[in-house]
């Protein structure tokens, strides 16, 4: 396995405090409406979580490559053979709204496909 690290994980420096602005940015990416008060609350909570995760970094030394998979497997493939899926009715059964055989979703704001 190459010693190369995985894709860069974006985010705050795990040893530093997560800022209110960073929480607001993440909320926007996740399309969550977060109030000003919540930003402060979440910033504090996320800080604790990131701090806990950062402790792993203290244990892992330079000679330990980042691990993305816990099982030592590679090249797990399936043949290109069709398998039965869901009917349209089944697929849409749990949808909050559907129309013309399609999932109906609220209008998408500020985006252009």
């Amino acid at each position: 396995m190459p010693a190369d690290s995985g894709p860069a994980v974006a985010g705050p420096d795990s040893r530093g405090a997560i800022s209110r602005d960073e929480v607001a940015h993440l909320a926007r990416l996740a399309r969550l409406a977060v109030t000003d008060d919540e930003l402060d609350v979440f910033a504090g909570q996320l800080d604790v979580i990131l701090g806990a995760v950062a402790r792993v970094g203290e244990v892992a030394a330079e000679d330990i490559p980042p691990t993305s998979h816990a099982v030592p497997l590679q090249n797990v493939f399936r043949p290109d053979v069709r398998r039965p899926g869901l009917s349209q009715e089944q697929a849409l059964a749990c949808a909050p709204a559907a129309e013309e055989g399609r999932f109906r979703v609220p209008r998408i704001l500020g985006e252009e496909q």
Partner: protein, 501 residues
């Protein structure tokens, strides 16, 4: 966002003042039986949400498994583009919240693409060759299709809500990204089009996709920036999406060059953004504000183990590569003795494959070529369709050629038979039968017609008798006219000489 119409700069002036740098990203939908990570069908045009399962709908508890055929197709595309195949690589999650992916991420490859660092030599119309570097080819999955309801023209702008069909979600995609293509100057639009055309032909020859731009199984994003000539400073680029035909590729490049030059000439700056190509007007407009790569929070896909193609597997796949289109053309050119120009005309007319197929049905190359580039090209032109769209098959053309070779038809009758086939009157033999087009070489019928013609022109008879054999042409003409072109001209001439001697 400003909406003022940009002042377009005359194309010649753009080229005089700026150097364009091109980059092309082409998405190819593979024609595998099943999706990238599940066993759902990939057929185009099925009823919405009938080719879905818990995996491609992102339902809890479902797990993806990689389609081996898709990986093989990706490796073969990489090899055909002279890329190195990565001996080890992982999939990554590209996280974004948009209803076209029910999982809220797209499974893609990020910094470990399966194929890297290749090239393709692109031949332009006049024979100039431009080597286009290939940065990478990576595997990913297609998204679902959105239908925006309530806005104008099904566009998202002003829409009240959207409807999602996930049949396409999870269909294997290969994204092929070029390196920056500098130094093409005024030929940038042409280079872009030629690259996409050649890439389409290549992928088609590999048999891994039907590469239909009109159906979206091949899509192109055009990256373009301008830098003031001689400055050596790379400009800010825009990425134009929705470029859905070869012609649009060329138009989009040309338009962006003219637009960006207008902005720069006016002292403005180019905004790095995604733009949308408008097929109708041939213009581009600002599109979705692009999230930065960091915003996608890529991380290795935990549900899929790494792919590590062995050297043996890669070599085995290399062995399956067909003769590449340009090698094939070279061989045909030599076999048929064509000049570069003749070959190019055949390719541009879309005639090469049709002629080859006609030859494969037993017709001589010369005649097959002559039919497709002359009479049939004319018919296609009159009808305003592509040559391949004419309702006649290479086998039918070969049959007509065979009938002419056997003396059953002359060229004039053959054209009438072809007309009949084009008019959906059936197979060539059926048209010959129903229209009564067989060449008349039966002496009984011909002698009567010859005698009649001779009697009508006694002066010509005298000339022939006096040794002026070439005068027989006038009699042949009269007989052909009388028989509506169906007489065997060679036999008619023989009979005339016989009767006059």
């Amino acid at each position: 966002m400003t909406t003022t119409a940009p002042a377009l700069v005359d194309f010649d002036d753009v080229v005089a003042g700026y150097e364009p740098t091109l980059g092309l990203e082409v998405h190819v939908e593979l024609s595998t039986n099943t999706k990238m990570f599940c066993g759902c069908p990939t057929d185009f045009g099925a009823e919405p949400n009938t080719q879905v399962c818990p995996t491609c709908l992102g339902l809890p508890g479902s797990l993806p498994v990689v389609n081996r055929s898709a990986v093989e197709a990706a490796i073969r595309i990489g090899l055909a583009l002279n890329c190195s195949i990565a001996p080890w690589g992982r999939f990554a999650r590209k996280n974004y919240f948009y209803p076209d992916m029910p999982k809220n991420f797209q499974t893609s490859q990020y910094d470990e693409p399966i194929a890297v660092n290749g090239w393709m030599d692109v031949t332009l119309e006049d024979g100039e060759v431009v080597r286009v570097g290939i940065e990478r080819a990576h595997m990913e999955e297609d998204t679902g299709k959105s239908l925006h309801v309530g806005g104008a023209d099904g566009r998202i702008h002003g829409a009240e809500y959207s409807l999602l069909d996930y049949n396409r979600a999870g269909v294997p995609l290969i994204e092929i990204v070029t390196k920056m293509i500098p130094g093409t100057g005024a030929r940038a639009p042409e280079v872009a089009r030629a690259y996409v055309t050649q890439l389409r032909d290549l992928i088609k020859s590999l048999g891994v996709s039907d590469v239909r731009m009109d159906q979206g199984s091949m899509r192109c994003d055009v990256n373009l920036s301008l830098s003031p000539t001689g400055s050596g400073v790379l400009g800010t680029r825009t990425e134009t999406k929705n470029v859905n035909s070869l012609r649009s590729v060329e138009r989009a490049v040309r338009y962006e060059m003219q637009r960006q030059a207008g902005v720069l000439d006016g002292g403005g700056v180019i905004v790095q953004e995604t733009r949308h190509f408008e097929e109708q007007s041939g213009t581009t407009r600002p599109g979705r504000r692009k999230e930065t790569s960091e915003d996608y929070r890529y991380f290795p896909e935990p549900d899929l183990v790494p792919i590590a193609p062995s050297a043996e597997w890669v070599e085995e796949l290399r062995g399956t590569l067909p003769e590449l289109p340009w090698e094939h053309r070279k061989r045909i050119q030599e076999a048929w003795g064509l000049s570069d120009e003749e070959l190019r005309d055949l390719v541009n007319a879309g005639a090469l494959e049709l002629i080859e197929a006609t030859v494969a049905e037993g017709a001589p190359a010369g005649e097959a070529r002559s039919w497709w580039v002359a009479y049939l090209a004319q018919q296609a032109n009159t009808r305003g369709v592509e040559l391949a769209e004419l309702p006649i098959t290479p086998a039918q053309v070969a049959r007509v050629i065979a009938l002419v070779a056997a003396g059953d038809l002359n060229n004039k009758l053959a054209r009438q038979v072809v007309d009949g086939v084009l008019a959906h009157e059936g197979e060539p033999d059926e048209v010959v039968e129903s229209r009564g087009l067989k060449v008349v070489s039966d002496d009984g019928a011909l002698i009567a017609a010859v005698d009649e013609a001779l009697a009508a022109q006694p002066d010509v008879v005298e000339k022939i008798k006096g040794g002026k054999v070439q005068a027989a042409g006038a009699i042949v003409g009269a007989v052909m006219k009388a028989t509506k072109g169906q007489a065997d001209a060679k036999r008619v001439r023989e009979l005339i000489i016989e009767r006059c001697s």
